[in-house]
């Protein structure tokens, strides 16, 4: 009797297990929750969680709840490979969201490609990322576009003829953005008068800035991360450099003004979206984010939310999580109304979307203009 009961129980469990599993769609996330990229990572992770909660509150996808399995990559090469392998073969995720930086995404991408699990990066702007294969996507624009936008802005709006470029040699992002800026600027009548570099972690930039000052540029392009930009701006102003400073989306954080103070006032940078966007959907999300996490959402949050939502939307459209179909559905994302703008994925699996130019004014980032691809 006991034995039969046990068998029945086991059989019931065996039957129930797949049913229980089928109630959930498991999605993976790789994100830097610790290490030097943890600032962006935390923001992305918060936004992704919000996207999951919102979707589940609205009834989930295909009648199932989304379950997010998150792996910390510790901002460290070597980690994404193991994390992605774990997500794919142990957690059996249907797709993976992340990483925010190009170098960490480039490590995860080949694995996703060979396992045929779609990967959507919220913020990897290096063109090489999606070249890995047809399962790799992103919801942000790429460096060539951003570099071109900055160069056009410098030439046309700021009427700059001579530009200085000050890159962070440790960041692939910074180098990539600078390269495309330089190429476009030089080709369209401008001159790059001086190039200098620094490393993430440096605090003193006066040596390079003094050299930049004596080259007398009309504009200084600094494609670095916000934590250094504030210091660079302060030291530049102290040295008597008054020309405008311009940069890319990595400037986008409230700490930029907290550190740079009045020194960053009036500087311009490209970003994925503007917090001033009157779209009620955007404003509602920003408000909820602030309420929930006590901090303003930057573009990392907007992109993180969008990457997750594009994925859930694609699962809905595909009607299945089967891999080739899901891949095709993501690839055919068209006119998706995201927080960071309208997302249409092109044949190279890059988001074809406009960039905005923002200006630092007081404590806020003021919308200046939108540049379409």
């Amino acid at each position: 009797m006991k034995k039969t009961l046990f068998t029945t129980f086991a059989a019931a469990l065996g039957l129930a297990a797949p049913l229980l599993l089928a109630q959930e769609i498991v999605v993976g996330e790789i994100v830097s929750m610790t290490g030097d990229k943890a600032g962006f990572g935390t923001e992305i992770h918060n936004a992704t969680m919000m996207a999951v909660d919102d979707t589940n509150a609205a009834g989930g996808v295909l009648g199932k709840k989304i379950k997010l399995v998150s792996e910390d990559t510790q901002s460290k090469p070597g980690e994404p490979a193991a994390a992605v392998q774990k997500l794919i073969s142990r957690d059996k995720v249907v797709a993976i969201l992340g990483e925010y930086t190009s170098s960490l995404t480039l490590e995860a991408a080949p694995i996703c490609q060979s396992a045929k699990v779609p990967l959507i990066s919220p913020g990897a702007t290096n063109p090489k990322v999606t070249e890995v294969g047809d399962y790799i996507f992103r919801v942000c624009f790429i460096d060539p576009f951003q570099g071109t936008v900055l160069s056009k802005f410098a030439l046309e709006t700021l009427k700059a003829k001579k530009a200085a470029v000050f890159t962070d040699i440790k960041q692939d992002y910074s180098i990539g953005l600078a390269d495309f800026f330089k190429a476009h600027f030089a080709k369209n009548g401008g001159t790059i008068v001086v190039e200098k570099s620094y490393s993430s972690g440096d605090a003193d930039f006066k040596a390079q800035l003094t050299a930049i000052k004596s080259a007398n540029p009309d504009v200084i392009m600094i494609p670095g991360y916000y934590s250094q930009i504030g210091l660079i701006a302060k030291q530049a102003r102290a040295l008597g450099i008054t020309v405008p400073l311009i940069g890319g989306d990595a400037w986008s954080d409230s700490q930029l003004v907290a550190i740079g103070g009045s020194a960053v006032d009036g500087s311009y940078f490209t970003d994925h979206f503007s917090a001033e966007n009157p779209d009620p959907k955007v404003q509602a999300l920003l408000k909820r984010y602030k309420e929930k996490f006590g901090k303003d959402a930057g573009s990392a949050a907007a992109l993180g939310y969008d990457a997750a939502m594009v994925l859930f939307d694609s699962i809905k459209r595909a009607g299945t999580t089967d891999e080739p179909k899901l891949r095709d559905a993501i690839a055919s994302t068209k006119g998706y109304q995201g927080i960071s703008g309208v997302i249409t994925l092109d044949e190279k699996r890059n988001a074809n979307k406009p960039a905005v130019i923002l200006q630092v004014k007081g404590k806020d980032f003021k919308y200046v203009t939108t540049v379409n691809p």
């Binding site: 910390d72 090469p77 193991a82 392998q85 794919i88 480039l106 991408a109 080949p110 692939d172």
Partner: protein, 328 residues
């Protein structure tokens, strides 16, 4: 005894070949962990030759690994396709030829770097040597960062995924075998004398300088090979992967296993790799307080505590006590 170890070596190589042929049916996550285990064994045992057996203290192992990884990957990405074409296309043997060649070149590149580091560092001891090797490691990283041919800060992409369990464990076995038999040989006793009493050794007519350089060169060679395996496993390299933090991981393996104890270091490499992967699941243990879960997620905190605790409580390493007495 040597006959037995040689048989054991062959057995391990054959076994890794067999294991490798089942890879397709294995969970790819476990394959990845096994690969990292193998690579960490090679790194640990090779650093053990320098830090453990010879008693020097190198903090530049990640630098040697970088040199090897980058040279091997540069070869397979740049010359690989034409090499394979010349051999009549991609087949298992032409790829094996290419890969083993690339690994050896990577190892030699790293060995040259080891020579460059070793010779000038000879005048230094203890903490000065540690700092100077740390400096060399950083210089190697900055040089790679400034080399456009390997992608500079953007990293090297498109590396073929040649690394499999056969290569990893066969090479790990060869590493353990070579370094153990080197240290156990008559010649190799010299390494131990340098560690135990350098002044006495040199007054006995032992060329301590040469032993130190040889330790650096051989240690760096295997670290370079490990770098090659690593590159063809993750298929992407970035200079940021070879910072001081990477060196610290290898140093911890050596200290955990016990300096100069190859078996201990091998066990430590397995243990540490598995443990770190297991830590990923800590967030699932909801019965643990959130604070503890967050803390254990931050592995560098754990690493640092392990280092301090080991030095205070068990400086001979976890397995120091099990070491067999040496034959006289």
């Amino acid at each position: 005894m040597p006959m037995k170890t040689r048989l054991l070596l062959i057995a391990v190589i054959v076994a890794s070949g067999l294991l490798s042929s089942f890879t397709a049916s294995m969970n790819s996550y476990y394959v990845q962990i096994l690969t990292f285990i193998g690579i960490n064994i090679i790194l640990g045992v090779s650093l053990n030759l320098i830090n453990g057996h010879t008693g020097q203290f190198s903090l530049g192992h990640a630098g040697f690994m970088a040199v090897g990884g980058y040279s091997a990957a540069f070869l397979t990405t740049t010359y690989g396709p034409s090499f394979l074409a010349a051999l009549g296309g991609s087949s298992w043997w032409s790829e094996a030829l290419l890969f083993s060649g690339a690994l050896v070149v990577g190892g030699i590149g790293a060995a040259i770097a080891g020579l460059v580091v070793g010779i000038p560092s000879l005048r230094l001891r203890g903490d000065y040597l540690a700092i100077i090797t740390l400096g060399f490691g950083e210089i190697i990283r900055v040089l790679i960062q400034n080399t456009d041919a390997v992608g500079g800060p953007r990293g090297l992409t498109g590396i073929p995924g040649y690394t499999n369990l056969f290569w990893t464990f066969a090479i790990a076995a060869i590493t353990i075998y070579s370094i153990s038999s080197l240290v156990d040989s008559t010649y190799g006793r010299g390494f131990l004398t340098v560690r135990d009493d350098e002044i006495a050794a040199s007054s006995m007519g032992i060329n301590t300088t040469r032993y130190k350089v040889v330790a650096f060169v051989i240690g760096a060679f295997f670290a370079g090979v490990a770098g090659g395996l690593y590159a063809h496993s993750t298929r992407y390299l970035t200079p940021e992967g070879f910072t001081f933090q990477k060196t610290v991981e290898i140093v911890i393996i050596v200290i955990l296993g016990g300096m100069g104890n190859n078996a201990g270091v091998t066990v430590a490499a397995i243990l540490l790799t598995v443990l770190l992967e297991a830590l990923r699941s800590v967030s699932d243990f909801t019965w643990l307080p959130q604070f503890v879960r967050d803390l254990t997620k931050n592995r560098m905190i754990l690493f640092s505590l392990v280092l301090i605790a080991l030095m205070l409580l068990r400086p001979q390493g976890l397995f120091g006590g099990f070491r067999k007495p040496k034959r006289t």
